[in-house]
Amino acid sequence: MILAIDGTELQPINVELAEYSELFMLISAFIYTLAFILFTVDTARSSATIRRVEAELAQEQEAERIAVTAGAAEATASAQADGAAKTAQASTAETSQPDTSTAETSSDGAGPGEAEVNAELVDDDMAYARPKRPLANVAVAITAVAAAAHIFAVVARGLAAGRWPLGNMFEFLTAAALVVTVVYLLALIRRDLRFLGVFVLGLVVTMMVAATIGFPTPVGHVQPALQSPWIVIHVSLAVLAMALFTLTFAMNILQLVQSRRERQVTSGAEGALARSSFMRLVPSALSLENWSYRINAVGFVFWTVGPMITGAIWARESWGRYWGWDPKEIWTFVIWVVYACYLHARATRGWTGNRAAWLSIIGFICIIINYAVVNVFFPGLHSYAGLPE
């Protein structure tokens, strides 16, 4: 039933597989939406989570007091040591003046102190802390299911077309969404990034919807200029870098909010943020900044090697010049310089903290511009968007 294309080594499109791919793409988008909703509900119920932790703590302290009065001195010692260790872990190296005092005073009876509860709620190294968040856990599990369907969809698409499935905007966007999800899920194994769930899933759902509605492209072959092994490394690294920058974008936004909240809390102002229970489940601004720096550093290396260097090599193979200030190349360069600024800012006195976060956010905005605006509106050699003429 499938006619061979004469005179070429290109494999014919596998129509059936292509249909499955499209179906699974839709399925995964639906499941992502479900996970997003669950994460949102979990966020909305943050105060309940906090209250539960408070209750648990109070109960434990009650039990402890009984033990103390019973004369089991050792138990106290170890519990205190335990508490001190936890608190110490929660603060970062240079500010580690563990306020064991709160742990001690509060065991006198009045119920858990605010600082103590906070220490139980989040960990600044983003290790899993105390609160059980069943809704969030279900959301994570569902996300994993969606990712599995998504992986199938992307792989099937590649197999159906007999090429690397990164040849047009639709494929680029859906693959980026997949990498964001997979990186997020992998990070969740070691680190408690559940607080990012709403943002990550929100972005993933947005990407999937944008791909399906904005750039629907049926499975097909790509034009001669795109039939190159460089597409594998060039575009894959770009997608990876973009996925990482997407994560740090979410973290940096949270960082700005969190640092505002921290200022409100220290100044004793009773702003809405200071009372926000969700933000109490989010690590400190400093911790968010450090983690997004680590991720951005990896993203910057990918961006340097991917879009910049292999892009130049491929451009030379394909168009005869390694750099020609094509709109796409211009924005690739701008993004690279902005993230170089970000790395520099972190080494410059007075430029860390919120300013660095802003630079990282600007970098991400440039990525959006590079992706959405340049591909669609600026003509150039990179116009491979696969948009209808």
Binding site: M1, I2, L3, I5, D6, T8, L10, I13, A88, A90, S91, A93, E94, S96, A115, N118, D124, P218, G220, H221, P224, A225, Q227, E262, P283, S284, L286, E289, F300, T304, V305, M308, I309, I313, R316, E317, S318, W319, G320, R321, W323, G324, W325, D326, P327, I330, V334, V337, C341, H344, A345, R346, A347, T348, R349, W351, T352, G353, N354, A356
Partner: protein, 575 residues
Amino acid sequence: MAEKRTTTPSAHRDNAREDALADAVGEQRAKHDVTTPALGVVGMLRWAWTQLTSMRTALMLLLLLAVAAVPGSIWPQRVQDSFAVQTWIEENPTVGPILDFFQMFDVYSSVWFSAIYLLLFISLIGCIIPRARKHYQQMTSPPPRTPRRLERLPEYGALELADDGPSLDQALDDAAAVLKKRRYRVEKRETSVGAEKGYLKEVGNILFHVSLVGVLIFIAFGSMFSYRGQKVLMEDEGFVNALVAYDNFYPGTWFSEDQLEPFSIRLNEFERVFDRQVDENFEPLDGFGQPLEFTAHVTVQDGHDAEPEDTTLRVNHPLTLGGAQLYLVGNGYAPVVTVRDGEGEVAFSGPVVTRPDDPVYTSMMVIKVPDAQPEQLGFVGLFLPTAYDDGTGMAISTDPDLHEPELHLNSYYGDLGLDDGVPQNVYVLDTDNLEVLNSRESDEGGIVLAPGETHELPDGLGTLEFEEINDYIAIDIHYNPGEAGVLVFALLASAGLIATLFLRRRRAWVTVEQTPAGRTLVRYGLLSRGEDFSLRDETIALRTQLEKIWPVRPPEETEPSGVVSGEGPNTTRGI
């Protein structure tokens, strides 16, 4: 976490740690204020230099560079498409010239863009040279001296050894051995060991920045000695690399003609493959008719003495001849026509390049026949590879392959304007001063020809014969001697970047002393330069190794010998 901070937290630990080290060593904190300019020219210059090479300036210049690059994506650029720039200025007669004055159409060679990146690179060199010198000194001198107050360091701990433990000196030797095994460079001192590792981090940083300079130098070198040209090559036509043979030629500033190696290329045959996939009902699938492969079968000769060689030129597969690269950048159909004039003489004969305008190769065609007598003749119209009349009388092309090739032309006579020597675009016929012979509107109708057919022009002005269809290809020829250098330095920069971002520069000190009880007390402290999120892991690993080789007294038995207030000597802070 509500942390009580008055200033924004500095997450970059270099500053904080340098301060911590200074603190631990007992020095005054280094002054970071820039001194006000001293009087005199030298003072001013020195001040300006300090400002230029400061990190803050580098940051500002980088930001500026990013902003300055953006206009190039908003307005068309001459490097990209000088024709588009010309059109843009014509369409915007007020704004156009103003933007042009500010070099908005030549952003990347503009004065202001160049100023920014040159300042940036001067700043970079001024920044990197002292840094490299300082780092060389550090690499060749012993690890920094042991701080007096180890407990002020970000990572600190102490171990009290059991009564049967090693002597002070033995303990130092052991500690030195452990540190060495962890790949520190170690110096044993009277009562302490100083150690440092991760020098490659800074080497990476310097390599990265120096390589950026290398990239810039080779870009400049390349563009000076490069050349770039275009040539349209008909089937069975050859090209020899010489200035006269090019259709367009763009030399670099320092190009000289003897850089052109005498290679040659000849097009034997051109092959196009289009997507022909249909479904089970033989309905075309999406993408039907889109190009899949272009292959030019060519014969090349790399220099006068070389053997001619048959090969192929394809998209993404350039040929290298005489150090230059040849790229397949375009292709199209070239109908072969013969024009006889009113006197029956052959006034023109040969293939005519047509310009494909869409994916189905609807191609623009212009024939100028200035040699025709008694009147000069001109033809303009379309070549359609698969002509199809949709009923409106207007034929369109429905497929890029040659299924139903047809010429659809209008003809004109009069002065073509070629005699006054003003260069003209060969693909445009200016019909303002010409009289219409054939056109769809005129009584005579337009010319429609299939291969092998001949059309008689009205008024006995001549005939047009459509013989056959040839192919042509457009090739770009590029020579850039800087490319290899750019690539090498770009890769070096990447290596340096990876080293500087992911290696850790760490310092460690171990001191020994005798407790009042006569036992050996070992203290250790660690410090990192730059970002280091796993210094604590390093500390734990070090401590574990030390505990393995020594008999350590369990914490409960240890007397608090006043090491750190509130913490027993055996706790590693932060664990």
